[in-house]
Subunit: 323 residues, 4 copies
């Protein structure tokens, strides 16, 4: 494994322009593919690192300006390496989320016909997610593990032979000069991964369509249960988009909660809510407020709906009567 | 009973100065006594009316600028005539609350010695609240009912004899030329009555030590239970000072809730709470925001305490990082 | 006022048959009228006492087996004398509730024609509740106070003249040999009063249509707010039929809550709820479980409805799989 | 990949003795190691299958009587393959949980000295979890992926050379005739995995120290939020040991919740709670009630503590007064 002998550069807060971005390598991963969908990030200098832990540590240390890492996969669930590093170890702020579909492709050398294939190499989870395609296409086939889908592609490109295919990204085909034998071979075409871009400083200004991520820890002196925490959100009509209990690793039975909510800490309602949770219920660690991926969702608290509009007018009329 | 042939006058909202105030008469009642503690109200033209209903209707009709009526007694509980008129019938706003101790006095003609007394006249509730004093002082004595304590005093002054005493206010002694045979003869010296001054328009500006009164009605299409309503207050750390379920008189089982809370509708937190209750839980009728009687209480949500101060600083530091 | 020199008798718990019942006198009150609707209670020896306090104290002391007192009027609200005695002072259990309509009648001597009447005597609240009838029938008429409607009737019978009418019960006409000049003269014909029969011992067995009354007091060491208490009921789908905050008289700001709920302490669900409130939230004072008045209401937790029936079957099927 | 041509055998419900158990193979996995800690399960015929999905499907199809699979790892988090199969696809009941520490060992052929090692083969997650040991021991070393730790060991045993080590279980050393070069080489010695044994039928009888697993789905017609669901548990003092939101895969924004709680569906309190959640809040899928692993924890609702004991006695005394 590599040590990370980066020279620190200026982090991106203030007016500074970020210059370098780290991601889980090697080239051709799903992570790089997702990163390339972001035109501003695509133009930075890319630093490929072998583990998520190193990507985030390099960002925390200032060796890069931005780190880019998966945080949740719709099949595999939370990426705990990312969550734990953000929650327990480093002091980084989420800048953006990117949701990217997981399209698996079958790649081979340019001289390979599909009938010749005797073994398929890939990251074990990726191979498992193409179970149906492999069974249908090959019946029995040898499945060989690699450290990542991109590793498999690179290895095939460098040392492979015509009896081997790999499962990987379309990007890896381009990167390593392989041909695309088949696309969309995954069992679950709806599978997608959520990535986050993190930095040492700066909370993006609110866009009107934002998310906020926090972790809450029970306070020893204030047993405040989850239901009390959730009531703070519920009473303010703040929608949660993700909730997960997780042991804090301090000791058995010591839990924290990862919570993602709609809204931005710049919103009075969100700020007041977090303040109340912090003061009354639990320690809160703030992981960031950032633009939500995807199209503009339903407005959070139904500002558009009739009952809410009526209530707004009602309270405004009352307050107009204050002398 | 009197009809109320008042000429309407200008209500007090805007810069208008109120000129007339109605109260439950006759002169010498506890209500008048409480009213006289308020120097600005004491200087208005006083209109004595025979029932609370008429006091409030005269205010609603514009015949007087301010109505003054009891709303709660610490022994007898809520004064439903006042609550119901404010909640169901009229459109008035509470301007002020006045909390006044209920001091019962024994009054008699100037030529009466206490040994001569054979009967005590008063409003039945007042006599009941002096049970111990009467038993100790007189053993057996005839208790005679009057329509009010002030009525009893006036009648004694006009037509009474030396064998009669009345239970009433110190003010009634002055008003009707009677002597004070004894003060503080009530069984419960801590007994007090809360009065409200109401007007057709205007919400007093916040003082930092205010109360807000509302009534909530279940919506047919949104069964929102009390617990949901209370969570709105609880989540925002808004203290309730009074809560009472009450049938709406529409039909059996149809309930509303009288709620009094600390804070002013000018406070964002209170306004947001009322707006949410109105939009999500129940119809809300606003009865007023007004200065709370009594000394400055503990600050509502513990703004002064350490946890809250820490939480304020914490959220401020986070928001300072927004680009 | 009378002292109460009763010889204690055996209270009604166990197999003992109650023999004596106390009520708010004199004969002819609404309380006696309601009592007479209960055939078993009507057959006991009746003891008329001058105040609610004495009725309840006589029961507590064992001077009578049953006490009968108003606890709530749909116009006047809670009868705090009864509530406070049950909650703070005595150790009595509610045995039954009786809901009785408040029908006001105009009574006069047999030789009186309605045109002759110059004054109307009654308890002040009763006169106030016949405001519309009196105004329409008499225009201006002198209203004279009495200590109770029954006192007014008795006094008219003994000493009255042909220019006087009283407002009282139909029972008072019979009791005191008066004629019924008019019935249903009350402004609010839907007005009714709820009475309770109390005893020193015994909780009536559940009937399937019961109520339970409690008072909850905040514990100094466990600030448990009302919302937490109500969640205990809400989570168990226990309906509340009455809720009222009330100062405890110990000091300002010290509140308790009168709560009435559907169900019987013999129900596991109610017992578990009360146990949890007692253990976690607040001191609970148990005032009784007793048959609810009125026709069988909607079943409490929607046992009849489809979702609940489905859930019952679902859990039964699961539990049938336990080895 | 293997098809699974099992002959169905009789499932274990009723008095039937289970005969066959499936687990994630090949021999020598952590799963087999955990399974062998259970003496009754260790004695069954073991069926090793290549994926968790196949283990659970074989159980559902009756090809084996018991399936054994990881459900949660303290570092990697929930094993979504297991959770999703139980929640969405199959109809299996959890019979038992087994918590097993994740001890990583460095294995090599018997003729290998540690200085000779040039490459380390393992499942990628296992290698990642030994990052510190590998860096300290080898500095730079080639990391090669395998489909599982046991696959790596088997391959080394069959085809490996003296320059290769594998990371795997102590069991794999025995199974494949390798030597144990080092034990406890994992970065996080507190890491453990929770496994479940599942079957088609039967809920183990309560032991007094049980857990219950459910999944809740929002009902389209009853938006019941998580906070309402949690209040059902909170009000009954039912502790949750795990909570996780998860997309249902039906569509974006459609969430379910995995919930584990202390207690058994045979407990009235748990049954009543689940019934209420099912009737009022959300569709509930029952995944099982089973003995909790580990020593007897703190009693769930503080039955031992003083307040609860007092409350128990208090309610018992009240109920003793029922006639």
């Amino acid at each position: 494994m590599l040590a990370s002998p980066y020279e620190p550069v200026q982090p991106i807060h203030g007016q500074m322009t970020p210059e370098r971005i780290a991601y889980l390598g090697p080239a051709g991963t799903f992570t790089e593919q997702a990163l390339l969908t972001q035109t501003d990030l695509a133009g930075l200098e890319h630093v490929s690192l072998p583990t998520i832990q190193e990507v985030l540590e390099a960002t925390d240390a200032g060796a890069v300006d931005v780190g880019f890492a998966a945080i949740e996969n719709s099949i595999e669930g939370a990426v705990n390496a990312t969550l734990d590093a953000l929650a327990f170890e480093l002091d980084l702020l989420i800048q953006r989320e990117v949701i990217h579909p997981v399209e698996m492709c079958l790649l081979a050398r340019n001289d390979t016909a599909i009938e010749q294939i005797e073994r398929v190499v890939s990251f074990p989870h990726a191979a498992a997610q193409c179970h149906h395609y492999l069974a249908k296409t090959f019946g029995q086939v040898e499945i060989v593990a690699a450290n990542s889908t991109a590793d498999a592609a690179r290895e095939l490109s460098e040392n492979g032979n015509g009896a081997t295919a790999v499962i990987g990204t379309e990007l890896a085909a381009t990167t390593y000069g392989l041909q695309l034998l088949a696309r969309h071979i995954e069992d679950h075409p709806e599978n997608h991964t959520r990535f986050v871009a993190v930095a040492r400083e700066g909370i993006p200004a609110p866009t009107g369509h934002d998310k906020t991520s926090i972790v809450t820890f029970q306070r020893a002196d204030r047993p405040g249960s989850l239901v009390n925490i959730l009531q703070e959100f519920s009473a303010r009509s703040i929608n949660l988009t993700h909730l997960q209990s997780r042991p804090t690793k301090r000791e058995l039975g010591d839990y924290c909660f990862f919570i993602e909510l709609e809204g931005h800490v710049a919103d009075e309602r969100v700020a007041d809510c977090l303040k109340n949770v912090q003061a009354k219920q639990a320690l809160v660690r703030f992981l960031g407020s950032y633009p939500a991926a995807g199209e503009q969702a339903e407005t959070t608290r139904g500002e558009a709906n009739e009952a809410w509009g009526d209530a707004e007018r009602w309270i405004d009329e009352i307050r107009a009567r204050i002398r």
